[in-house]
Symmetry: C2
Subunit: 543 residues, 2 copies
């Protein structure tokens, strides 16, 4: 049974599983999962367990707080269910999902948690996990994504990562890396904690650094409130937000067209053309004008559309193995926009817009599909759109033509990869002096210059162009998709590692592995047999 297409857009009015309450500088996000409101059939979302649909709402809420409610300084994440904060990813959902879906689900939930951390780090909002009941598995991992964790002390509520003992899989959405790298829990304690199905309660959980504090049930709300009050007393904001209007698109069987992003699916050949269009006409140049334009401002609208297209490709189009990234329009307009974003970078909305662009580009880096950038006359791989080229696995640029690529200040730092470097830095690890050359007075480069500078991979001339691109596409889509996924994940992230790259690179890989082991998903595997009268049986050979 093919699942229906998954949509990544929602609004607070449509939320089924979360309540977003706003009270001046404090936002409260309360989880109240409706067990029958699932994305697919075959499971119920009991005990505030979640599926992708629940996490799509959470991602939307975090995004909306940033754009629509910049006055918010503290976000409290809590539960409306008695005695349970969140039971983590739904096990029956995992048990009935395809391998690819499980992996994409984990990736998306990680991106949501990284988005929380991004908001905390760059926009200074403080996230408080108010665990008014047990937080287990992904529930506890959601708590770790927050800045502070408070647990109710009622003799019952605990934090736990029960996946290893109960399900034979890794705590799935980044927990182990965040556990030892972010919270720096001592490794032997992390070992004990991660093998203890029932988890740990208040006192010991605090002693081991798993939570920041615990309070008796009668004092819980007031203690959390007091902490939140302290945060908002110390940090105020008088900005007022913009409305994130719905992203509109038209779709056919083999296309999805947004205003600035067009996706064409060449299903037979298993590749897609994804084209980003520059805007036309005059663009705002001041913070005030940008605020007035709101979600229709190109850098926000185009990147929201791009984000949606990437998520759509990941989850709804698994057979598309290669995406040809194209751009079209006036490069100068893009460069002018970058100039505006740079000049107004201290304006809250501009900062949020640029941070959003950075997140979308990281989503691209982390997408398990090949990307080729195709640079032709009429394209506008300039400034922020040059990042599409730099994020690609390869690029092709037509020789002896009007095609140009161009750099702007936005290529120099504000759109970092998960490894903390810019894409230019990652590209030129061996030749850092190239960065100075590229950042020199000359900002726009023709094909020969781009090739000399190392900005593009291949520069075929007009005679070879079509054949070369066609052959490259054919060759790429003929290769093992699994080998490509592993290869690209390795080659895209040279250089330093950060918590984020560890989470995605290491843990996702391990989880990918474990998610297809018979000990997890085989007939006798622990994931398969969870909640059934039958018991898991393991092949105890260590690998």
């Amino acid at each position: 049974m093919p699942n229906p297409e998954i949509l990544f857009q929602t609004t607070p009015e449509q939320y089924k599983h979360w309540k977003l309450q706003l009270d001046g500088p404090v936002a409260t996000l309360s989880m109240d999962v409706q067990e029958d409101e699932t994305l697919a059939e075959g499971y119920k979302l009991k005990l505030n367990s979640y599926d992708l649909g629940v996490d799509i709402e959470l991602a939307d809420a975090v995004q909306r707080i940033r754009f629509e409610h910049p006055e918010v300084r503290a976000v409290v994440i809590t539960s409306l269910k008695p005695r349970i904060f969140c039971a983590g990813a739904n096990i029956y959902m995992l048990g009935t999902s395809s391998h690819a879906f499980k992996v994409n689900f984990c990736k998306f939930t990680n991106e949501t948690r990284c988005a929380i951390e991004d908001d905390s780090l760059h926009s200074g909002r403080r996230y408080i996990a108010a665990l008014n009941g047990t937080a287990s598995g992904g529930g506890y991992e959601l708590a770790i994504a927050c800045d502070e964790i408070y647990l109710v002390d009622d003799g019952n509520s605990a934090v736990s990562l029960p996946e290893v003992p109960l399900l034979g899989v890794l705590p799935g959405t980044g927990g182990l890396t965040r556990l030892v790298d972010k919270r720096k829990v001592r490794r032997d304690r992390a070992d004990v904690f991660s093998t203890l199905a029932e988890g740990l309660k208040g006192k010991r959980a605090k002693e081991w650094g798993l939570i920041d504090d615990y309070f008796a049930r009668s004092k819980f709300q007031e203690s959390v409130d007091a902490r939140v009050k302290k945060i908002v007393d110390e940090s105020t904001s008088t900005e007022s937000g913009i409305k994130l209007t719905p992203i509109e698109f038209e779709s056919t069987a083999d296309s999805r067209n947004y205003k600035y992003v067009k996706l064409k699916l060449n299903r037979e050949q298993r590749y897609a053309d994804l084209t980003v269009y520059a805007p036309e006409g005059p663009q705002p140049t001041t913070g005030k004008e940008i605020q007035e334009l709101g979600a229709a401002y190109w850098p926000l609208q185009a990147y929201r559309e791009l984000d949606d297209a990437l998520l759509h490709l990941r989850v709804n189009e698994p057979l598309i193995g290669l995406v040809c990234l194209r751009t079209q329009g006036d490069a100068q307009i893009i460069l002018d926009i970058d100039q505006t974003l740079t000049t107004n970078h201290d304006y809250w909305l501009v900062r949020e817009i640029v941070l959003h662009m950075a997140r979308v580009l990281r989503r691209l880096d982390l997408t398990a599909k090949s990307f080729f950038a195709i640079v032709e006359p009429g394209s506008c791989f300039a400034g922020n759109l040059l990042e599409l080229l730099l994020a690609s696995d390869r690029s092709y640029m037509l020789k002896d033509s009007d095609a140009r690529v161009a750099v702007s200040d936005l290529n120099a730092g504000v759109l970092p990869m998960s490894n903390g470097l810019t894409r230019l830095q990652s590209r030129f690890l061996a030749e850092p002096q190239k960065l100075d050359e590229i950042a020199g007075d000359k900002k726009t480069f023709d094909t020969d210059e781009a090739e000399d500078l190392g900005l593009v991979t291949f520069a075929p001339d007009d005679l070879d162009w079509e054949d070369e691109i066609r052959l490259a596409i054919e060759e790429r889509t003929s290769l093992s998709p699994d080998a490509l996924t592993g290869m690209e994940a390795s080659l895209r992230f040279a250089g330093p590692e950060t918590m984020d790259t560890k989470i995605y690179g290491r843990l996702t890989a391990w989880q990918n592995w474990i998610f297809q082991r018979p000990n997890a998903v085989g007939e006798k595997g622990a994931l398969t047999n969870y909640g059934k009268p039958t018991q898991a049986e393991f092949d105890f050979k260590r690998t």
Copy 2:
């Protein structure tokens, strides 16, 4: 058909696949793989392809050069086969091996390559890959492990990583990480190179940074010789080596006993006791005395035995999931030895011994089995042996007893993990001030002190001791071995990442994943069908 037990010991006289030639400061290691001398049945080692047996000889040769021939300053790795340097890991061997064996094979070959890099970094020997023929796959990866790569320019010889296009698996033994991190090859070029079955020849290979230079066949030998001469002219050594005598052991069906290391296999319960014994009697205190004692000196002999026991457990005992690490003997003797090693650290042999200890301990960190340290009266978890405890996933220390643990200078830096930190630093990421407390005047700690300092996980008293250990063992060995492997690999390496941790953590995980995908090892997988008239057929869904 169970494979015969694999032995990890050999000597140059026994080598089947390599010739080790010594000429003063120059060692030449020539690969000449005998195609019928395989470790298992079902494949032939054509074209200098290798199986684990070939790599065991290489590892032995590198180790012997360090200890037996400290006068060597340059090691040339080349081939005795016409037109082929090395074709990499044997594909039919991979195709007929179990998943666990493949993973262990990749890990061991990586450790061998890291040992080459360790020698280069710490002992200053320069490794030259003299590619007098094509180096593909693991053959090229062996070249990247060297400091310099020279390729013959004969219109035919190339370097290549053909695994993705030909086999549907990752270049297996670290190639991609070394490619972009060590050689810093630009990511789009690395992408092209890694998907190009035929690889690249001299000029372009040099341009892309894949090799350091290329020479016509007629000039190849003299050009390499000239480079080697330059190296040895700049660096001389007049030390003379010691003999690495064979490691002896007696074994029964459930034990393997070396002189200082005893392994007891509790097969029914799927765990092993591995006990390291302190030496008895007076120990040498000067470099000269150590040199006279040679391979019989405890820090060298005990760690060589430990290394052999770990490799044996990994490859020959897959059903053993847990190793209880124990020590026995006089802790003061261990501390005195550490003092001697510290005092004489400038003496070449002492430096080599300590570097060897560090490699063995890293082998332990990277072993996919659970480790519990058991600290009882009569044990000697002191100084270098305390590292066994710190490397363990957990530790148990008997309360109210004579049991003690102790630190020495060797815990403070010279035995780093793959992440570049000491095991104490990794343990106390959240509380670095503990490092000062532990390194204070008091060096020996009883159970209460060790628990307070956070050196041990649990400290049961006499009443609970046996039950608690027994239950912990039973519980651990009941868990999914795959989930444990992923969990331990994540928890052991918090903190910074290095090229080594990237290789092991990221790539091994990806390779683990790809090695069990149907697209590689299924009936229609590329690895299964390599060299057969049938063609691979892929499920093109991207994960």
